[in-house]
């Protein structure tokens, strides 16, 4: 298993869909509202080699209570500009569109983290800071340090996509079962 550390570099280009990895180092949470704000006002952290986590955590007294992934598909139309700015990794659940898969080619990867595993995530995290706190707890950009979070490379930089493979298979199977 590969152990990756942020900031990410060209090592992401050789990762392949289906590979199990761990990730350590700083990541930034961002959901719908944060993406819209970053489009308007700019990205509030150094984007080159950075990793964005689709997550709206529960924070209490500056501690991360739970912080599982949210559905990445909502960010499909909002992702191109952060990849253009140099973001090399996105963590989320459920995968992203064919458009984003194409935008990632040759420069970035998508890591799946298990949906609902908010405690497992929190147990591997330390809160470092916050940007755009006026957006509220779920939508703010939280700066978080990861310690070996277990991830799966679900969309690689060469167009490999586990979600697309699984759903294509499911469609074919459904046709066979109920034709």
């Amino acid at each position: 298993m590969k152990h990756l550390t942020t900031p990410l570099g060209d090592e992401v280009l050789s990762l392949t869909a289906g590979e199990l990895v761990t990730l350590s180092g700083t990541v930034y949470t961002a959901r719908d509202e944060a993406h819209l704000r970053m489009m308007e006002d700019g990205i509030p952290f150094a984007p080159q080699g950075s990793v964005v986590y689709h997550c709206g955590p529960v924070i209490q007294d500056d501690e991360i209570v739970v912080a599982g992934p949210t559905t990445s598909a909502r960010m499909n139309p909002l992702t191109g500009f952060i990849l253009d700015a140099g973001v090399k990794g996105i963590i989320g659940k459920g995968g992203m569109s064919a458009e984003v898969r194409n935008q990632m080619k040759g420069r970035a990867v998508y890591f799946a983290f298990t949906g609902g595993c908010a405690n497992l995530a929190a147990a591997r995290m330390k809160l470092e800071g916050v940007h755009y706190s006026d957006l509220g707890m779920a939508e703010a950009v939280w700066q978080i340090r990861l310690d070996k979070l277990p991830l799966i490379v679900a969309i690689d930089a060469n167009g490999g996509d586990l979600f697309a493979t699984a759903i294509d298979y499911a469609r074919e199977k459904f046709q066979q079962m109920y034709q």
């Binding site: 595993c117 908010a118 586990l162 979600f163 699984a166 298979y169």
Partner: protein
């Protein structure tokens, strides 16, 4: 008959509701855990095995950290049974809402309930007539909390089928999961309502999620096997387990109708029951 207010009982209802919500958010029922262990043992590839290993580790950590299993703490749908001699009153509804608001700060829960159009958050997980409180008669006074997350709720389906389409019910259920893919955080449990009216069938589908998942009828098992043939797998990444169980509840319906509803439930199938002493 004359009803006198009973503040001590209202306080116990509030306390019982807060406790049912807290327990449901942190401790997954044993029958669900056991199905997830079966699912882990039924996978041979590294990706679905890692997903299920993460889920099992997360369940253990939630208990250890006494924190909610998932950050989408859902909308706590409430089911209450009241014994003979007890009459449900508006004050009791208010006590249930107070219990949910209390659990929101003490568990803690993410505040999830907003106005549907302004999207303004009430901050308490109550308000605008929510969450639903279903009261039925029973032997004991019990409060059950079923927190329902949005990811799986959003891919649920209802269909007013023709009575002649009875044989197509399994196809509709399997198709619901095909369209859902990885979005509802599989492996899922499918609560199915058959019959009733447009509104009743959705309620049946959700009530089916209160049933234990360690037993299935041959009809439920057949549909569950068909869903698993899709190979969507844990989190939609591919694998043998897409569905842990199918549970069906039915009711009579109009001779010209065949309502069917599928309420999709993520792997975090949370429910807990607390008894209120009277």
């Amino acid at each position: 008959m004359c009803f006198s207010p009973n503040p001590a009982l209202y306080a116990r209802i509030e306390q019982g509701t807060a406790e049912a919500v807290r327990l449901s958010e942190i401790y997954l029922p044993d029958d669900v855990k056991s199905r997830l262990v079966d699912a882990y043992n039924g996978e041979s590839s590294s990706v679905p095995r890692q997903e299920l290993a993460n889920i099992l580790e997360n369940i253990r950590l939630a208990e250890e950290r006494k924190a909610p299993l998932c950050q989408d703490t859902g909308i706590p749908v409430i089911y209450i049974t009241i014994p003979p001699g007890i009459f449900w009153t508006n004050e009791m509804d208010q006590a249930v809402y107070a219990g949910i608001a209390r659990a929101t700060t003490t568990t803690p829960l993410r505040p999830n309930i907003v106005d549907p159009l302004t999207r303004e958050n009430t901050g308490t997980n109550t308000g605008h007539g929510m969450p639903p409180v279903h009261v039925t008669s029973g032997d004991r006074f019990t409060i059950t909390a079923l927190p329902k997350g949005a990811g799986s709720e959003n891919v649920s389906q209802i269909k007013m089928m023709n009575p002649s389409e009875k044989a197509l019910i399994p196809k509709f259920i399997v198709e619901t999961m095909l369209n859902a893919g990885g979005k509802p955080c599989p492996p899922v449990i499918l609560g199915v309502g058959i019959g009733g009216t447009f509104d009743k069938v959705a309620a049946l589908a959700k009530e089916a999620l209160l049933e234990p998942v360690d037993m299935m009828t041959p009809y439920e098992q057949e549909i569950c096997d068909a869903v698993n043939q899709l190979g969507i797998g844990p989190m939609g990444l591919g694998g043998n387990t897409t569905c842990l169980a199918v549970k069906v509840k039915s009711a009579g319906c109009h001779t010209a109708s065949l309502p069917v509803a599928v309420n999709v439930q993520c792997w975090a199938a949370r429910r807990a029951t607390v008894e209120v002493l009277i």
